[in-house]
């Protein structure tokens, strides 16, 4: 079943067409990569999916339901979680507290329940803590739960963002350059993590510049350049696609 559908999505900023008539589908249970040269509009597409921007034209459907008019937090509640290209953690808070932010949308207690410390509120808090710890262990940061986010290594900060996103219990997780700043060892571990995420039943959509990672882990790849989709297919096909090669390496000067 198609989980996410982009249908002729266009986004302009002033005179610039950042995303131009892009359509593609993400099937449930798959790992899809979105690649393209810098400035091709990849992060803009992500921001359109998560509701940070609104498309000028076209529609985006998640589980058959249009999400373009919804505020971001509602899209998260529906089941789409994301990480940010520039890491956006709560730097002064602990790793655990960062992940707890993800738990928020699956909890109910409000101000009154908090002040009264109702039984359901206390149970909910306990469960949230357990879930947060579980997600930290899942990404491999179980030992760093009490560490301040700013003190974690760059690679670990990226993992923490993933843990926070997973805590929202999404059906689709969007990773924006998760391997950015990671060394080879960490990148290799990331491949395993992405596969584990899929094994949990979460569909993965990711932007990446690290081609080895993309080729190894993605089943389907979409290529954009200057805001338009120029190719779509499995890794082997994309590797040989002349348009893609031209976009990344340029053509020979005659």
């Amino acid at each position: 079943m198609s989980l996410l559908q982009l249908d002729k999505v266009t986004k302009t900023f002033g005179g610039l067409k950042a995303v131009d008539n892009v359509s593609y589908t993400v099937e449930s249970g798959s790992i899809v990569g979105l690649i393209g040269p810098n400035g091709a509009g990849k992060t803009t597409i992500f921001n359109l999916i998560t509701g940070n921007y609104r498309p000028n034209q076209g529609d985006i459907r998640f589980e058959e339901r249009s999400v373009v008019k919804l505020p971001t937090h509602q899209i998260v509640a529906l089941g789409i979680a994301r990480t940010f290209q520039t890491i956006r953690l709560f730097q002064k808070l602990s790793a655990l507290e960062n992940v707890l932010a993800g738990c928020h949308c699956r909890m109910r207690a409000g101000a009154l329940a908090a002040m009264a410390r109702l039984p359901f509120q206390r149970r909910e808090e306990r469960k949230a803590l357990e879930l947060a710890m579980a997600e930290l262990r899942f990404v491999g940061l179980g030992q760093q739960a009490d560490q301040m986010a700013a003190n974690l290594s760059y690679g670990n900060q990226r993992l923490l963002e993933i843990a926070r996103a997973l805590a929202t219990q999404p059906r689709l997780i969007i990773l924006d350059e998760p391997a950015g700043g990671m060394n080879d060892q960490e990148t290799a571990a990331l491949v395993g993590l992405i596969r584990n995420i899929r094994a949990r039943g979460v569909t993965v959509l990711l932007i990446e510049h690290d081609m080895s990672l993309v080729m190894k882990v993605c089943e389907q790849i979409v290529v954009v350049e200057y805001g338009s989709k120029i190719a779509e297919g499995d890794p082997a096909a994309i590797k040989q696609n002349p348009r893609v090669i031209e976009a990344y390496l340029g053509t020979d000067e005659e």
Partner: protein, 320 residues
């Protein structure tokens, strides 16, 4: 470390409970003012400290609470203490209406708008809007609070009423701080894009912070009205907001003990150094500048939240 803090707090509470016995009426009244401003600052702390919204119009909510009590009490003779929650509700409702359109404004713009708001409220009160606010002279003849027939009149009696309310406030706000709600405010203060992206309805929580802060300030307004029996628009001007703002900032933005310490310093110190009272605002101004340069977090900044130790949490399976 934790037990030492608890000990200090317990000692402080103990001293406070018996203090009125040793002090004359004047100094007890000073402590009453410390208490009132302290609770006001704690309510502002929800908006400014927890949610990080630059709000300098808090006196408006205080005013609305006080005036609600004054009007309903003098017109319908409803007992003052019954009017406390009602005044809070009116102030909270006002905050709901006023904050909704401005909640998305960026920091310094929000600051300016809140200043404008408090001034408009004050001007409206002076101009006797709807004919019920008594104009520049205000309203007089507000009744004293009564508990089971016992009328609270003297400073010593007000002391226990005010500080009992303070204790309740601290208790409830502490719980609020360490809850899903309190965390949501922290997240949106630290990075509201990341908070929204993590599934938190930032607009809702910003509004909720305003409403809760306003509700509490409204209730303090009731206490103030009953204590003074006369209220006038001049008691609720922008400078009152500045004093509350200073208490939060100086004491420790986002920290309950910090705010209370701030109240003692900002309200209490000038009383101790009476000769400097006229230059009090001058020193305030210089202190604000110095605080920002040398210690932005305030004297007693908030401590990180405590969670059960990592090992204690049971292993859970990450569910799909």
């Amino acid at each position: 470390m934790k037990t030492r803090r608890s000990l200090i707090y317990a000692l402080f509470c103990g001293i406070l409970v018996v203090l009125p016995v040793f002090l004359n009426a004047y100094w007890v009244d000073v402590l009453n003012n410390v208490g009132l401003y302290g609770i006001l600052a704690l309510s502002l702390n929800v908006i400014l400290g927890y949610a990080g919204m630059f709000h300098m119009g808090h006196a408006a909510f205080y005013a609305i609470g006080a005036y609600t009590t004054a009007i309903l009490n003098t017109a319908y003779h409803i007992p003052v203490l019954w009017l406390m929650p009602l005044s809070g509700l009116v102030a909270g409702f006002f905050a709901l209406i006023v904050a909704r359109p401005i909640i998305h404004l960026r920091g310094d713009y929000l600051l300016i708008v809140t200043i404008g708001m408090v001034e408009i409220v004050r001007i409206a009160l002076i101009n006797n809007v709807f004919g019920i606010t008594g104009g520049a002279n205000g309203i007089f003849g507000i009744a004293r609070p009564e508990i089971f027939g016992f009328q609270i009149r003297r400073p010593h009696e007000f002391f226990y009423l005010i500080w009992a309310f303070m204790a309740v406030t601290i208790y409830l706000f502490y719980r609020l701080e360490n809850s899903r709600f309190g965390r949501a405010l922290t997240y949106l203060r630290e990075d509201d894009v990341a908070a929204e992206g993590s599934g938190i309805n930032t607009a809702h929580y910003k509004l909720a912070a305003f409403v809760i802060g306003a509700f509490w300030a409204g209730m303090v307004g009731t206490l103030y009205a009953a204590k003074m029996t006369i209220i006038a628009p001049e008691s609720f001007n922008f400078w009152e907001s500045v004093v509350m703002f200073m208490i939060v900032l100086l004491g420790g933005s986002g920290s309950i003990p910090g705010v209370i310490l701030g109240a003692f310093l900002v309200v209490g110190l000038p009383e101790i150094f009476r000769e400097f009272a006229t230059a009090r605002m001058l020193i305030f101004g210089a202190a604000m500048v110095a605080m920002m340069i040398f210690r932005t977090e305030g004297i007693l900044p908030p401590q990180p939240r405590k969670y059960p130790p990592v090992g204690e949490l049971l292993t859970g399976e990450a569910k799909p």
